[in-house]
Amino acid sequence: MSQAEEPSLSVAVWRGDETGGFETFEVPRQANQTVLDVVTLIQRSLDPTLSYRYACRVGMCGSCAMTVNGKARWTCRTHVDKVIKGNRLEIAPLENLPIIKDLTCDMTVFFEKMVKAKGYFRGERTREDDFETVKPNSAPRISADEAIECIGCGVCYASCDVINWNPDYLGPAALNRAWSLAQDERDNIQGERLAAVAGDAGCHACHTHMSCTERCPKQLSPTRSIAGLKRLTAAAVVKGAL
């Protein structure tokens, strides 16, 4: 029996910083191979200097997002079969974020914008008080059901056209986080948060292109969250609270 040639993938991987370029590796094709498997194989077997980021490998931590064949994706749960063109893969760091090295981008601004959007909880109670309950079937709790599932992978941020045009724009993830907190009846900085997410760098800059919603690996809709913030800020202006 003649030995069949082992099928291989031609993988173009971004190397270096903003001024870098693609380097191509030949990688053995395997069944059920994920894009993260491919990157890991390159780093462990072909070039140990390749930098990339991952942690959980099961779609929970949000650290392995990269640009795969032109689209931002979570690589740990992206099967090569789903995204391959011919036998070629192109893997680059996320767009709209500064490149540190190879496939690793600097997420600082992404998380800073979460803070700018007041994407944190401020309650009134202290550790001496009893727990404050949120009714699971209340309308605000239900409307935050989806938004709270965000894993902060940055795929939406990398896919957003508005960030490309307006670097100050808070972006889908930060606004989605703000929306989930705007639905939290225990939180008592609602006015401050609405002021933080309104304006030219906030929810009103969103063009509803819905790239974030289309690309979100958790199939959430930051667009819907942003629309919710637009409604809340509009209501606040009408009431004279903003």
Partner: protein
Amino acid sequence: MNIGLVTRLWIWQRISGAFLGLFVLVHLMTIIHAIQGGLSASEILGRTQGNVAWLMFYGSFVLASAVHAPIGMRNVLGEMLGWRGRSLDWAMAAFAVALIVLGARATWGVYA
């Protein structure tokens, strides 16, 4: 900060956009209907001159456009040219005034 202003502009753009949707539809249907029988310019003017309903309609159309277009242009110029701040806001206010003046002149032209 311009938070309140931007939110108000957003609200006004939505309201004016809703009206424009209706106005554009009526405008296009009128054009298509009017040319069916081969109306001449003088025949059209014969119908619009002294007609307060058309004056009100196109007057409102001009106002909605003068609200809607500068707000949209403000976003486009900010994103495409990086022009932001007070100078842009004043320029867009001037654009709104220009649209009102030019639109009112045209509307009055077919009414008077």
